[in-house]
Symmetry: C2
Subunit: 110 residues, 2 copies
DNA sequence: TTTCATTGTTCGATTTTTTTGAACTTTCGC
DNA sequence: GCGAAAGTTCAAAAAAATCGAACAATGAAA
């Protein structure tokens, strides 16, 4: 069981973050995490295979978008809000804002 | 020669915009357009095949990120800043801002 | 008006990426 | 220990990106 990798704040690249947010599954995960604070992988109801979801969480984690800690058999995920805001001010917030409005307007990103 | 399709402002979706911006080639195009105002496809020096570039411009255009008008044999492209800002306030600006800072820090998105 | 060069699109093939189910690991509760 | 729950890994299948070649459209040159 090797430790879970997280990039240093300074190593977070805009390209990786945008690539992640550009994926509808990842964006949906981020949207949920924006509300729920901390979630296990299983807690996110998205119609994709377990292995696919696992892959997307890895993308987000390695991009520096979320932090993951093990708790028993679960992986608890949370947004790295402070790090992202420090590195790319406003980016996450404006996107979440827009996503939220789009969702309310019944135009889900999925 | 069929007319060039552009989505109405109201039909621009965040998903499509983020998908486009999440692609390094598209992001590079948008970055250039943020500075240059209007550019032909050929004016953008990016190391991809002509047909690939054409494809990326189409992605951006159909996502509502840029507008394209024909001028002779050329296709002149420009950002749909007002429409994007109206629909998703701050999103384009903060991303361009972050991209610009990343570029200056020699961490090109390409 | 007949070339000819320029600009960009379209098409089919190739390569790359994404998605998936099955098998596996880890951890906890019984 | 045994079995269930939560994720990961792996190899195969499906989907998407990339490319070169052929094509269309326009303007310029002859």
């Amino acid at each position: 069981m090797r430790p879970i990798f997280h990039p240093d704040k300074a190593d977070i690249t805009l390209g990786a973050v945008l690539y992640a947010l550009g994926d509808p599954v990842c964006l949906a995960i981020v949207q949920r995490l924006a509300i729920e604070d901390e979630l296990s992988c299983a807690a996110i109801e998205i119609p994709v295979a377990k292995s696919t979801l696992s892959h997307h969480f890895k993308i987000l984690r390695e991009a520096g978008v979320l932090h993951c800690r093990k708790q028993g058999t679960q992986h608890m995920n949370s947004l790295r809000r402070a790090d992202l805001d420090d590195r790319f001010p406003g980016v996450l917030d404006t996107i979440l804002n827009a996503a939220d409005r789009a969702t309310r307007a019944d135009q889900s990103v999925l």
